[in-house]
């Protein structure tokens, strides 16, 4: 079995960070889409988001 790559870790970290920033009102489910459907508050600002990523994310999409 292959090791978890840096890329996969980056995604998992990002998911964990989003999870921590939501106020979760019930237990997580098992399916891909039901897990987060009842989170009611997102406290992470876009600024945190920009600060988090280090890959040219400071301005998203202007060329």
């Amino acid at each position: 079995m292959r090791n978890v790559t840096f890329a996969q870790t980056s995604i998992l970290d990002r998911i964990d960070r989003i999870k921590r920033n939501y106020l979760h009102v019930s237990q997580y489910g098992d399916s891909l889409y039901d897990d987060y459907s009842d989170w009611v508050e997102y406290s992470e600002s876009y600024d945190d988001y920009h600060d988090y990523l280090d890959g040219g994310s400071y301005l998203d999409n202007v060329q």
Binding site: N3, T5, F6, Q8, L32, G55, G56, Y58, D60
Partner: protein, 369 residues
């Protein structure tokens, strides 16, 4: 809130795909620093009236460093004094050509993070990104990138994916990986100077999807790589959590992003900052206060785009909750009507489907408790 602050449209580069026309760049003046201070005071008033305590200012252009190091010193000292009660984060999107130790000292002093553009390998970069004399720029940019990194500055890269990248995605990825250069791979869009060069550089949504999928797999399974591709992290976490972040896929980017043009116009975002798109200005800071303009935004048709999209065919799409019709400006490019969904819709469906499949195969999607 993120404010894209453009002190000038002038630029010392003439990139083939620049979102601005060369005419706009040539005609642009530098923003008066005293007027910039007035804008900062208006921001302060806005912050005093709002629960927001935190603002990111992205200094952008044109080439924002053409505004001059003395103007930045003056405005950042002023901001530090006037906005001391708030958390302000400055970053800059630059072509990196003018960076030197003096600039880096200033960036480090004010914790300014840099984004810059480098289109991968020299062979491709030097075709697309030339200076005002038409000379190639790769060697200057890579040297300055390495200097920034050596000095401990946070820098991230944007790669504008063009026709030149077709068939060269492995070379692109391996180059970025070997440089340790985190990046995001954005598709070239047809705006400004790019209008004149689409035959040579333009790509279709299908071509973008194919390149993005190939790049994703190279990155996702690479056992050696230690770099982040920001778009992929964003899309993958959006898929896994159904909570889109970033300006491209949020339900309404206008809740969190604004741009200030060198003309004093308050624009929906940096992409709309062009003298040819002034009809989309929310108002001009030479004539009104920022507070007056902000009060009006929620009543505008642009702000209501989210409602139009929710009532369109997009609402029935599997990906609606993580896409929301995509970028406002991409919708505008698709049809001349900002209410339209992004022209990249077909590409996003392929990319989202592919990434979802990889997340499931790897267990990421199913083990995210």
């Amino acid at each position: 809130m993120t404010i894209i602050f453009k002190p000038t449209y002038s630029c010392n580069f003439r990139c083939k795909y620049c979102y601005l026309s060369n005419e706009t760049k040539q005609q642009s003046q530098l923003l008066d620093v005293d007027f910039a201070k007035q804008i900062i005071m208006q921001l302060k008033l806005m912050l005093q009236e709002s629960p927001r305590q935190k603002i990111t200012i992205i200094w952008h252009g044109g080439e924002p460093m053409l505004w001059g190091i003395d103007n930045y010193r003056e405005i950042w000292v002023y901001m530090q004094k006037e906005l001391a009660d708030y958390e302000i984060h400055n970053s800059m999107q630059t072509n990196l050509s003018l960076v030197n130790d003096e600039w880096i000292d200033l960036f480090l002093q004010y914790n300014v993070h840099l984004g810059f553009s480098l289109d991968g390998t020299q062979a491709i970069h030097d075709q697309q990104r030339v200076d005002i004399q038409g000379e190639p720029t790769f060697e200057r940019i890579i040297a300055n990138y390495r200097l920034c990194k050596q000095r401990g500055l946070r820098v991230g890269c944007i790669v504008v994916g063009s026709k030149k990248h077709i068939g060269h995605i492995p070379e692109l990825y391996h180059f970025m990986r070997d440089e340790g250069m985190g990046f995001k791979f954005n598709p070239l869009f047809c705006s400004g100077e790019a209008h004149n060069n689409m035959d040579e550089y333009g790509i279709t949504p299908e071509e973008y999807a194919q390149m993005a999928i190939e790049l994703f797999d190279l990155w996702f399974y690479d056992q050696k790589g230690k770099i982040t591709e920001s778009n992929f992290v964003e899309i993958a976490s959006n898929i896994a959590t159904r909570k889109p972040t970033g300006c491209m896929f949020s339900e309404n980017c206008q809740d969190n992003f604004l741009a200030l043009a060198p003309t004093g116009d308050v624009m929906p975002c940096g992409r709309f900052c062009d003298n040819d798109l002034l009809q989309y200005s929310y108002g001009n800071l030479h004539k009104e206060t920022l507070a007056e303009i902000l009060l009006r935004i929620k009543k505008t048709e642009i702000y209501k785009r989210a409602e139009y999209i929710a009532q369109s065919g997009c609402a029935k799409c599997k990906w609606y909750n993580i896409c929301h019709g995509g970028c406002l400006h991409d919708g505008f490019l698709a049809s001349g009507d900002f209410r339209h969904k992004t022209f990249l819709c077909s590409a996003y469906k392929k990319i989202f489907t592919h990434i979802e499949k990889r997340l499931k195969e790897s267990g990421i999607a199913g083990n995210n408790k």
